[in-house]
C-alpha cells in the first residue's frame, strides 16, 4: 500500500472534546518507553463494557473516527503511542489539538480532518456496517467507502511530511553550520543555565 492511500476498518468514537487525559490517563504514563501502552488506551473509559473499544464488531479496526477537538490538552506523546500500539494507523476527526497533531505525524500515525457532516456520515456508516472498508486518499483529498465519500482536509505541507516520513533530527543536523552561524551572532544578554563568560545565569544554584 502506498503512503498516499491507506485503507482499513473504522472505529466510531462518537464523542467530542476527547482530551489526551482520556486517551491515556496520567496514572498510566509511568513506563519510560515508547511502546507497550496498548492496554492503557482509554484506560478509564475501557473499564465500561459498553465502550466502543470493547465492542467485538470493531476488534479489527485500524482507523479511529473521532469528533470535534480530538486530543486537545496535555502534550503527552503517550497519547499517540497508545493509539499506535493498539493498532490504529490513522485518526479521522473534525479537529485536533495542535501538539497531538504534530506528535501523530512524527510517529507515523496519519491524522486527517474532515467536515462535521463528514464525521456524522462516517459514524453513521460504521454503526450500521462495522466492517465497511474506509479509504483515506491524500492525493484525491477524499475519505471514501463503497457507498460514500467525504472531503479530506489536510494542509499540503503536513501531507508531504507524512508521506515522506523523514527523520527530522537527521535532516536538521545537516544544517548544523547554519545553526552554529546563528548561535555565533546571538544576543549575548540572553539567559543561560550554566555559567559562561559574559552571560547571565540562574539566580539559584542548581545541581550538576
Amino acid at each position: 500500500m502506498s503512503r498516499e492511500r491507506i485503507s482499513g476498518y473504522g472505529m466510531p468514537l462518537t464523542r467530542n472534546d476527547v482530551d489526551t487525559d482520556q486517551i491515556i490517563p496520567a496514572r498510566f504514563c509511568y513506563q519510560p518507553k515508547r511502546v507497550g501502552h496498548s492496554g492503557s488506551l482509554f484506560g478509564n473509559w475501557r473499564q465500561d463494557p459498553s465502550f466502543v473499544l470493547n465492542d467485538p464488531r470493531y476488534a479489527q479496526a485500524d482507523i479511529l473516527v473521532a469528533g470535534r477537538e480530538f486530543a486537545t490538552g496535555s502534550s503527552r506523546e503517550y497519547a499517540v503511542w497508545a493509539i499506535k500500539d493498539y493498532g490504529f494507523k490513522a485518526v479521522i476527526a473534525h479537529s485536533f489539538g495542535d501538539i497531538f497533531y504534530k506528535n501523530a505525524i512524527i510517529n507515523d500515525v496519519l491524522p486527517v480532518r474532515t467536515t462535521e457532516e463528514g464525521i456524522r456520515s462516517l459514524w453513521e456508516v460504521l454503526s450500521r456496517r462495522p466492517r465497511a472498508q474506509i479509504s483515506i486518499d491524500l492525493e484525491k483529498d477524499a475519505i471514501t467507502w463503497d457507498e460514500g465519500c467525504v472531503p479530506l482536509l489536510m494542509e499540503a505541507h503536513y501531507k508531504q511530511k507524512y508521506i515522506l516520513n523523514l527523520d527530522d533530527i537527521a535532516l536538521t543536523i545537516q544544517d548544523q553550520y547554519s545553526i552554529a552561524a546563528y548561535e555565533a551572532a546571538r544576543n549575548v544578554h540572553l539567559a543561560t543555565t550554566l555559567p559562561s563568560p559574559g552571560c547571565r545565569t540562574l539566580l539559584s544554584e542548581p545541581q550538576l
Binding site: 472534546d17 479537529s95 536538521t172 547554519s178 539559584s204 545541581q207
Partner: protein
C-alpha cells in the same frame, strides 16, 4: 515598512532557514524539562550517540509526580522514584542543570523559569508540557511540545515548525475589583470554546490586560492552551520591564540598558494585521467556575447549570448531557448549591505568591469548613519561603488549611499522592476539569484563588461576597 505582529518579529529573529516553504527551522532560546515526558527522548539520543547541543540553554526540575509533604514519600514509591531517578541520571550524563525536589529554586517548571530570570521578551521557549504558554506573559513565544520534539531540541537546539496563525484578543476597560485573571481566562475560553484557538497564537491586548500584574498575566497566558491555542503572549510594557529589572537585579547583575531597550521593542506594531480579532469588555468579566468536564464549560455566579434544552446541535447536547452526568449535577442548579470535599490551591496556573496572598487575605481570622480538606501547595520553594516570611503559614494553619512544604504540580494532574477518591468533589485553582483528571470518578470545579478560598470556608462553591 510593513507593520509586524510581535509573533512575526520573534519568528523573524529566530528563523535560521526556510525549509522549502514547508516549515522554518527556528532557534530555541530556552528548554525546560521535567521527569514525565523526557526519558524516551534521552534514550534515543543515547542510541544515536548524539550529545545535547546546548545544556547551557536547558534546565530540568522535578515537579509532576513528586510528593508535597516530605521527600521520604518519594523514596518509598518505586514507580515515581524511577521516573525521578531517570531524570537525575539523564541530566547528570548530559550535563544539564537540575533542580531536585526540595532544592532552593525547585518548583513547577512554569513557576521557576520566570523566577530565575530565564524568560526574556522576544525569546523562544519550549517544554514538554502544554502549559508552557505561561511564559508568553513576558512577550516570549512559548509553547508545549511532545517527547520527539524534546529530542529534536536537545540534539539541535532548534525545531522545524510551520508559522502559526495570529489572533488578537483585546479586552477593553478594567476588570471589576472582585474578578481576577483566572476569571478573565475562563471567560475567554468560554467565548472561544476548546477548539477556537487551534492553530493560533493569541496576543492579549487592551486596557484590562495592561492593568494586570505579571503574575496575573502568567495565569492568563497559562490558560491559552485550554482554548486550543498553541501559545498566548502579551507585549512588553512598564509592568514587564519593572518585573524583569527587579528579578534580574536580584542576582547583583542588573540588565544592560541596551537590553532593556530591546525588551521595549517586543510589541506588535500599530497597524499590524491579525488573522482573527476578538474584542471583549473587561468590565463584564464576572467570577467564573466550571460546571462541566472541559474548561469552556463555565458560568458566572448569577447563572445556573445549563440544561441540554438550551442547546440545539446534537453534539453539544450530547456533550452537556455527558458532563452533567459525570459531574453529578442537575440542570438549573446554582453554583452555591454544590457542596465540596476538597479545595486545591496551587499549580502552574495559580501557585504563585500573589495567589497565596489572595488566599491568606480571605482565610485570615476564618476557618475552613469541617467537611472540607483544603490543601495549599506552593509553586516553588521561593514561593513557599516568601509565604512563610510574610506569616502566611500561620494564617493557613490557624484556618485549618493544609499548607504543604514541597512545591510541585500535586493535585492538578493527580500524579502524586494528593489525588481524590471516587465521588469526591473539589474546587481547584488549577487548569483542567477533565474527567478523571484529579482522580478516577472525581469531580473538579476550576476557579480563581479567591473563589477557592471562599468555597473552602463555606463548604460549598462560594464567592467572597457570600461569606
Amino acid at each position: 515598512m510593513l507593520a509586524k505582529t510581535l509573533v512575526e518579529k520573534i519568528w523573524a529573529a529566530h528563523c535560521i532557514k526556510d525549509l522549502g516553504g514547508i516549515e522554518d527551522l527556528i532557534y530555541i532560546d530556552m528548554h525546560l524539562l521535567h521527569e514525565i515526558n523526557t526519558p524516551q527522548a534521552f534514550d534515543r539520543l543515547r542510541s544515536a550517540k548524539r550529545p545535547v547541543r546546548r545544556p547551557d540553554l536547558t534546565v530540568a526540575t522535578e515537579d509532576h509526580n513528586t510528593p508535597t509533604r516530605s521527600a521520604v514519600a518519594l523514596e518509598e514509591d518505586k514507580v515515581r522514584r524511577k521516573q525521578v531517578d531517570l531524570l537525575r541520571s539523564n541530566c547528570a550524563e548530559f550535563g544539564i542543570p537540575l533542580f531536585r525536589l526540595g532544592d532552593p529554586g525547585q518548583g513547577i517548571t512554569h513557576v521557576i523559569a520566570p523566577e530565575q530570570g530565564l524568560v526574556l521578551p522576544g525569546t523562544t521557549l519550549v517544554c514538554c508540557d502544554s502549559h508552557t504558554t505561561t511564559h508568553g506573559a513576558f512577550a516570549a513565544l512559548a509553547f508545549g511540545i511532545g517527547t520527539s520534539q524534546v529530542e529534536h531540541v536537545l540534539a539541535t537546539q532548534t525545531l522545524r515548525f510551520q508559522k502559526f496563525k495570529s489572533m488578537r484578543v483585546t479586552v477593553n476597560n478594567q476588570l471589576p475589583e472582585q474578578s481576577s485573571a483566572k476569571d478573565l481566562a475562563l471567560s475567554i475560553i468560554r467565548s472561544l470554546g476548546t477548539g477556537g484557538g487551534i492553530g493560533y497564537v493569541i496576543e492579549y491586548a487592551g486596557s484590562a490586560i495592561r492593568g494586570l500584574s505579571m503574575e496575573a498575566r502568567m495565569t492568563l497566558c497559562n490558560m491559552s492552551v485550554e482554548a486550543g491555542a498553541s501559545a498566548g503572549l502579551i507585549g512588553v510594557d512598564e509592568v514587564t520591564v519593572d518585573y524583569l529589572t527587579r528579578t534580574i537585579s536580584a542576582s547583583g547583575n542588573p540588565p544592560a540598558a541596551e537590553e532593556v531597550e530591546r525588551w521595549r521593542t517586543c510589541v506588535s506594531d500599530p497597524g499590524a494585521v491579525f488573522d482573527k480579532e476578538i474584542v471583549l469588555d473587561g468590565a463584564a468579566i464576572g467570577e467564573s467556575v466550571t460546571w462541566g468536564t472541559a474548561p469552556y464549560q463555565n458560568i458566572h455566579f448569577d447563572e445556573s447549570v445549563p440544561d441540554i434544552d438550551d442547546y440545539e446541535e446534537p453534539s453539544q447536547r450530547q456533550a452537556v448531557q455527558r458532563a452533567l452526568e459525570y459531574m453529578n449535577l442537575k440542570a438549573g442548579q446554582s453554583l452555591r448549591d454544590i457542596p465540596i470535599d476538597k479545595v486545591f490551591v496551587g499549580s502552574c496556573t495559580n501557585g504563585r505568591i500573589e495567589d497565596l496572598r489572595t488566599v491568606a487575605h480571605i482565610l485570615k481570622g476564618r476557618s475552613v469548613h469541617p467537611n472540607v480538606h483544603m490543601i495549599i501547595v506552593p509553586g516553588s520553594t521561593r514561593v513557599r519561603d516568601q509565604a512563610i516570611s510574610e506569616g502566611m503559614d500561620a494564617i493557613f494553619r490557624q484556618a485549618g488549611a493544609d499548607f504543604r512544604q514541597l512545591p510541585g504540580c500535586s493535585m492538578c494532574c493527580g500524579l502524586n499522592e494528593d489525588s481524590m477518591r471516587s465521588g469526591q468533589r473539589s474546587v481547584s485553582t488549577s487548569n483542567r476539569n477533565y474527567e478523571g483528571r484529579q482522580g478516577v470518578n472525581a469531580m473538579t470545579h476550576i476557579a480563581s484563588p479567591a473563589v477557592a478560598a471562599a468555597s473552602a470556608i463555606a463548604g460549598r462553591i462560594s464567592r467572597v461576597a457570600d461569606l
